[in-house]
């Protein structure tokens, strides 16, 4: 059995398995993988994951098929017969194809990822000067996320700067998150919303999310931030616009006593005093 024969057999097995498994992975497995379709950004991430799975499945199969084929076919059943084989020499054709194929795959993914990022930011923090801005025809709802060890608090500049202990958002609305921190680096991660943005002291990290229908979501800190990092979580909700309006009014009344003590709304805060600590 010559080498060309092996190559053809491996190639055939790979093609057949790719034809079978790639559609299964893309159309059956990938749509069920988080973060789901709670927002435009999370649904976009599901699509992106499907694209990545679709490209990586044949690559993974190529490795696995060759691995299994080698284990089965090239196994030497008489160890004493093992001799040093002929030296392996370069093969210009294979090397060229390897470089071309891998370059095309990587550059294609880079182009796809860049286009997706520029489209709507993909729910990621874009820093204080975001490039991927939403459609200007729809004014976004600004929500400030203030992190500190070990809690997220939220402020709504469009509603008199009211601060809340929990987060509710209106459905079918563009949300403009402004994420910052009062102490160490945290990361605001609400995966059902498709948003993840670092909370850095003294920095205003902006991320956009377009909500869809009502849903509950989890909020976690995704940056190791101290002994209680694992407990830095909360639950939030996307609710109907009327329900959101009622909720924010209720928060304004509830936290009216502390309103006068809050600093004016700012994209960042540098807390003082630190009388004894430090």
């Amino acid at each position: 059995m010559n080498e060309v024969h092996h190559f053809r057999r491996v190639l055939l097995i790979w093609v057949v398995s790719s034809v079978i498994f790639t559609p299964l992975v893309v159309f059956v497995l990938a749509p069920g993988i988080p973060p789901g379709d709670g927002t435009v950004q999370s649904a976009g991430q599901v699509t992106d994951n499907a694209v990545l799975f679709g490209l990586s499945t044949p690559i993974a199969l190529a490795v696995l098929v060759f691995f299994a084929y080698s284990l089965i076919v090239f196994r030497e059943r008489q160890p004493e017969a093992v001799l040093d084989g002929p030296p392996v020499r370069g093969h210009a054709g294979i090397q060229l194809w390897w470089i071309v194929v891998t370059s095309v795959i990587v550059l294609s993914l880079a182009g796809y990822g860049t286009a997706r990022m520029l489209d709507d930011g993909a729910g990621g923090g874009q820093g204080p000067n975001p490039i991927a801005k939403p459609d200007p025809s729809q004014p976004p709802l600004q929500v400030q996320v203030i992190a500190q060890q070990w809690k997220f608090l939220f402020r709504f500049p469009g509603y008199g700067g009211v601060e809340t202990a929990h987060l509710e958002l209106p459905s079918n609305r563009m949300i403009e998150f402004h994420v910052t921190s009062l102490d160490v680096i945290h990361s605001f991660w609400a995966y059902q919303l498709g948003v993840k943005a670092d909370a850095t002291p003294g920095a205003d990290n902006i991320a956009y999310v377009q909500t869809k229908k009502p849903l509950g979501f989890d909020i976690h800190c995704a940056e190791l931030c101290g002994v209680w990092h694992g407990y830095m979580f909360d639950k939030g909700a996307v609710v109907a616009p009327t329900q959101f309006t009622a909720w924010i009014r209720q928060q304004q009344v509830r936290f009216a006593p502390i309103r006068k003590s809050l600093p004016p709304y700012s994209t960042t805060y540098f807390p003082e005093p630190q009388k004894r600590a430090g």
């Binding site: 060890q149 608090l153 009062l182 101290g226 209680w228 009388k275 004894r276 600590a277 430090g278």
Partner: protein
């Protein structure tokens, strides 16, 4: 002539290797499983203290001090203690056992000075019965954020109560625990309703660790000083 029994003839060298690898893998998996199992099922059981049940309800008496007792491994660290209604029996404990679905009246003797809040928002109490607490017997909803010494917060229950510090001009501050009521202090009391059984974390939200950068280290990052657990049983 010796004739090996069936199966005794031997496991081939590759077979032995497979058995060794499989056995080692199983052992490693078992050890990892035990580690995870112990981690998930272990709860803080030492140095816990139970609330006191009285005819007028369940009472929990706590005290916050600027520095632990001199015999403590960290005598300069700010900490919580459990005590009693007369501030007599001090016990270094940060795990408190409370009855489930009950009203618990908490009294905190606050002997520590003022540090100030990083976020003034938490100068308003939340999660307490009636929406307010008593500061030296006076019903209060908020305090001056700059006057805060600590926050007693149980995030999973939505409880957050600001604890005012004694002023810098205090004439008779307490240096180390135990602190007698004759020294300067503030008395904060409030009532909470406990949820169902479970382990709930409590913590201070004021970076109050003197001697550490921005007050974040030491007792703020070590379970058993400015944080702990509420065991609801």
């Amino acid at each position: 002539m010796y004739k090996p029994c069936r199966g005794e003839a031997g496991v081939s060298a590759p077979g032995k290797r497979v058995i060794w690898v499989a056995g080692t893998a199983v052992l490693v998996c078992v050890l990892i499983g035990l580690y995870i199992g112990f981690y998930l099922t272990t709860s803080p059981g030492d140095a816990s203290a139970s609330a006191v049940r009285t005819p007028v309800g369940t009472q929990l008496y706590l005290a916050t001090v600027a520095a632990s007792e001199l015999s403590d491994p960290h005598p300069t660290w700010v900490s919580y203690y459990q005590t009693d209604a007369r501030d007599q029996n001090w016990h270094h404990a940060t795990t408190y056992e409370l009855p489930r679905n009950s009203l618990v009246h908490v009294t905190i003797y606050q002997f520590d000075g003022q540090s100030g809040l990083r976020n003034p928002f938490i100068a308003q109490a939340t999660g307490v019965i009636g929406g307010s607490f008593e500061l030296n017997g006076k019903p209060t909803r908020t305090i001056d954020p700059d006057a805060a010494s600590h926050i007693f917060a149980i995030p999973q229950m939505g409880v957050s109560v600001p604890l005012a510090g004694i002023p810098d001009s205090a004439k008779n501050p307490c240096d180390n625990a135990p602190c007698p009521l004759s020294t300067d202090h503030e008395t904060i009391s409030f009532t909470i309703r406990t949820p169902g059984p479970g382990l709930y974390r409590w913590q201070c939200f004021v970076p109050c660790a003197a001697g550490y950068i921005d007050g974040f280290g030491g007792p703020m990052q070590s379970v058993g000083y400015m944080d702990g657990f509420i065991k609801v049983v």
